[in-house]
């Protein structure tokens, strides 16, 4: 085969171009620190990376959902603990009031503190979490679950008013998604926390904390020892009920915590997997770069050699 000048030069140029291109690609990988710069570098790996990163973002989202659940549960726990303290104080005051030596005015004085506790119980019921969600209102979020004026008339009304008539929330519990298809209920609605237990007389209709405090205030104000004694038993029931609720909230917190750890370890494993695909192995990349620059240098040197070869050099 005749070898012509254009063949020699074209071939050298093509080869040098190819070597330059390979060198530039390796250099780009090293400077970016990334193994995969475009889908065609490794289509299945790039696809796997896209899925992993998506999964990672979702896990991060679940983690922040769990944080929000824990936050809501903590707020509820705080509120219920305060209720517990308040009810214990109610019990103390009632025990004082039950003392046979006390006269009507002394009992009236005790009733004043009880009214304070009644009011603080209302504001507890209306507590909100950091996003402004009422903690104890169920799905009803456009108004507070307890209206102060309504609650005041509930207290002053002689007739028994049902809890459902003053509670403006509903019985539903919000759930938050903490994993694919797994929803965690956030706490308890007001109708469950403040009501839904029986009084000491074992009336078939369940009573409420507000009704219990109302009876206690009435007993003290009316100087009615029998009512006071019944109230003490009622408060006992209320305390038991509130403690049950506290345990329920606590167990939900535990579930949230477990879920948090599951996601945290998943997140770690996703991050490891992402880094394995995405991150460049510098040692091998640098070796590759060295080999490629060596090849390029060899190409350049051989070009210089070949281009000097001409019969014209020897014709004088």
């Amino acid at each position: 085969m005749r070898v012509t000048n254009s063949m020699i030069f074209d071939r050298v140029i093509t080869q040098l171009n190819n070597q330059q291109a390979r060198l530039a690609a390796t250099q780009e990988k090293i400077s970016s620190g990334q193994n995969l710069l475009k889908p065609s570098d490794a289509p299945d790996q790039v696809a796997a990376l896209d899925r992993l990163e998506s999964r990672l973002r979702l896990t991060e989202r679940y983690l922040s959902n769990i944080d929000s659940v824990k936050d809501k549960l903590n707020q509820q726990e705080l509120a219920v603990n305060t209720m517990n303290d308040d009810l214990s104080r109610v019990k103390e005051l009632l025990i004082q009031g039950a003392n046979g030596t006390l006269d009507a005015s002394a009992r009236g004085a005790l009733a004043i503190e009880l009214k304070e506790i009644y009011n603080s119980m209302i504001s507890l019921g209306n507590r909100k979490d950091v996003d402004g969600t009422y903690l104890f209102a169920g799905y009803v979020q456009d108004k507070a679950p307890f209206d102060f004026d309504e609650m005041k008339s509930f207290l002053s009304n002689d007739a028994d008013v049902a809890f459902t008539d003053v509670y403006q929330g509903n019985d539903e519990i919000q759930s938050v998604t903490v994993d694919d298809g797994y929803h965690l209920e956030v706490g308890v609605p007001g109708s469950q926390l403040f009501a839904g237990f029986n009084n000491s007389k074992q009336d078939p209709e369940p009573t409420s904390i507000f009704a219990v405090i109302k009876l206690a205030i009435n007993g003290l104000e009316e100087n009615d020892v029998e009512k006071i004694a019944q109230s003490i038993d009622d408060v006992e029931n209320a305390l038991k009920h509130v403690n049950n609720q506290l345990a329920m909230i606590g167990s939900k917190s535990n579930t949230a915590e477990t879920q948090l750890q599951i996601h945290q370890s998943r997140l770690d494993s996703y991050e490891v997997a992402v880094s394995r695909i995405e991150d460049l192995d510098y040692a091998s990349a640098v070796t590759e770069l060295k080999n490629q620059s060596l090849a390029l240098q060899a190409g350049q040197a051989s070009f210089a050699q070949i281009s000097n070869l001409s019969l014209f050099n020897y014709i004088r």
Binding site: T14, K38, L58, V69, A137, Y139
Partner: protein
């Protein structure tokens, strides 16, 4: 008559021509399309009648091109194939740059949207979470739009390139027709000027970069040129006439470019896949580009449908039936490029479920299984109030706006079916238990429908089990990456074939400076020797003159 002087003179003249040919070869060493020329000589046999037959010296026979028609034709065909693959590869890479750009990743936009849905699940009453959801919905629409716009640009750029390639093709065929006209002057290809034939071949070569052709040479060197092979009958050039090609967009498929031969005379449609840059562009548009646009549109349509379905089966913050979140202006056009968010107010987001169940039971609860908003809200709003009361441990009655039913036997596990909804019991109810399924009047804090929205993210049934919204774009990237890898492999393979064909052609027609240097010496020496003959003749003549 043969004499030494004329013999020497013929040699000097012949080798001067040979030297000129060598000089011309060296001068054109880097001229594109130049074929090495060979000056061939023959002996002048002189008189045949004489008793002693002395030669008359040397004659120039011809200066011909070193030419291998098979190698030249093979190089043309391989060039067409290479240019087609190269064009395809170049466009596939551009597409990859667009869709593989992590800033344009659809997955991240979809993930953000669903994350905002999750945030709204966690805080359904929060105005900022609602605003965040609308913002991310717009983000998704914008992302679909920007990918689509980038694809539009590629669409336009490739159509423009097609236009300019076809213009070049028409200009080249016109030039070749003019060459054909010049070639008509002589009857034998061997008598044609070498430069003209080189020009002809160079034009054929340039045409074959654009489109694969077959040329049929007539005895005088005039070529008829066909698209593809001569069997197609699609003549680009017949004799001294060239026929124009026109590229136009198909009326049925905007990605399809149709090529028409002789559009203003007797229009003939040129199909796809004849090779060359033109075929590469056609193949890219009809193949990879269309496939990617279809994938993008498929995702856009599925996303809008699924999200709108959930949105429309819930109630918004005010208690109204949810309206479509996403929409397009023109449903006949591609969806991805015109997706928009239709809702403006944060209260329009349907976070709530339409129904709520009041449970009056110690042990059992009634759970909604499914509902159909079309039936529930057939008159525009949801109006449900149905009581289920257990008369005995396994017998209940239903009271709704039509009155109270006859007692119905309850079988554990059985679905309770209302108008537009179904529900089932967890634990078997006891006598005296009652349940009320009613319109949800507390939508402000209900997040159940938004929970269904957020669950779409990982729902693998959306694309018939192929993947969820979070996963499907990965398949697109995989498909595109594989296309690029494939076309790169095909191009490289074709490059090897084209290089070989070029070498074969060059081997016959190319100039080798070493060879020319040797010839230079050879002809120089021959020239000098012949000059010596003339000098000898002169000396002989002098000898005769001086003899007297």
């Amino acid at each position: 008559m043969s004499d030494l002087l004329s013999i020497g003179t013929s040699g000097v003249i012949a080798y001067k021509r040979s030297l000129a040919t060598v000089g011309n070869n060296i001068a054109n060493v880097d001229t594109e399309g130049y074929s090495r020329q060979i000056h061939s000589t023959e002996q002048d046999i002189g008189s045949t009648s004489a008793l002693i037959n002395l030669g008359n010296g040397v004659l120039s026979e011809s200066v011909r091109r070193a030419y291998d028609s098979f190698a030249t034709g093979s190089f043309r065909n391989n060039t067409s194939m290479l240019e087609q693959q190269d064009t395809l590869y170049t466009y596939a890479r551009k597409l990859e740059d667009i869709m593989g750009d992590s800033n344009l990743s659809l997955t991240s936009a979809l993930d953000k949207f669903f994350a905002s849905a999750q945030a709204l699940v966690a805080s359904p009453a929060s105005g900022s979470a609602r605003q965040g959801f609308l913002t991310e919905a717009k983000g998704v629409a914008e992302r679909f739009k920007s990918i689509s716009q980038q694809l539009d640009q590629l669409d336009v750029a490739s159509a423009e390139e097609m236009g300019s390639r076809v213009d070049s093709l028409n200009s080249l065929t016109k030039q070749l027709a003019i060459i054909n006209y010049s070639l008509m002057a002589k009857g034998d290809v061997n008598k044609q000027p070498n430069g003209l034939l080189d020009q002809r071949d160079q034009l054929l070569q340039e045409i074959s970069e654009l489109v694969k052709i077959e040329s049929v040479e007539r005895p005088n060197g005039v070529v008829d040129v066909y698209v593809g092979t001569k069997d197609t009958g699609l003549k680009l050039i017949a004799d001294v006439t060239s026929y124009a090609v026109k590229a136009s967009v198909s009326e049925v498929d905007a990605e399809k470019l149709i090529l028409t031969l002789d559009p203003y005379g007797e229009p003939k449609s040129i199909g796809n896949g004849y090779g060359g840059k033109v075929a590469g562009i056609q193949e890219f548009r009809g193949g990879t580009l269309t496939a990617m646009r279809n994938r993008l549109d498929g995702i856009a349509n599925a996303f809008m449908t699924q999200v709108n379905d959930v949105q429309m089966s819930g109630l918004d913050a005010i208690g109204n039936v949810g309206r479509e979140l996403f929409g397009v202006n023109d449903s006949t056009q591609r969806a991805a490029g015109q997706m928009q968010v239709l809702l403006t107010g944060v209260d329009d987001i349907a976070t709530a479920s339409p129904l709520i169940v009041d449970q009056n039971s110690e042990s059992s609860s009634l759970r909604l299984k499914s509902w159909d908003m079309t039936t529930l809200a057939s008159n525009g709003e949801v109006d449900v109030n149905v009581s289920i009361t257990f008369l005995a441990n396994s017998q209940y009655e239903i009271t709704d706006s039509n009155g109270t039913s006859d007692p119905i036997d309850y079988v554990p596990g059985q679905l309770i079916e209302g108008e537009g909804w179904t529900a089932s019991f967890v634990n078997t109810p006891n006598v005296g238990d009652s349940f009320v399924v009613r319109t949800n009047n507390a939508t402000s804090g209900d997040n159940r429908n938004m929970m269904a929205m957020a669950a779409l993210q990982t729902d693998r049934s959306v694309f018939d089990g192929l993947g969820s919204f979070s996963e499907i774009y990965a398949d697109v990237l995989n498909e595109l990456g594989s296309t690029v890898v494939q076309s790169s492999i095909s191009r490289d393979a074709q490059q090897v074939l084209a290089d070989e064909a070029r070498n074969a052609k060059d081997s016959a027609s190319g100039v080798s400076l070493d060879e020319e240097a040797a010839n230079l010496l050879r002809f120089q020496q021959a020239y000098q020797a012949n000059a010596q003959i003339i000098q000898t003749a002169n000396k002989l003549f002098d000898a005769i003159l001086n003899a007297g």
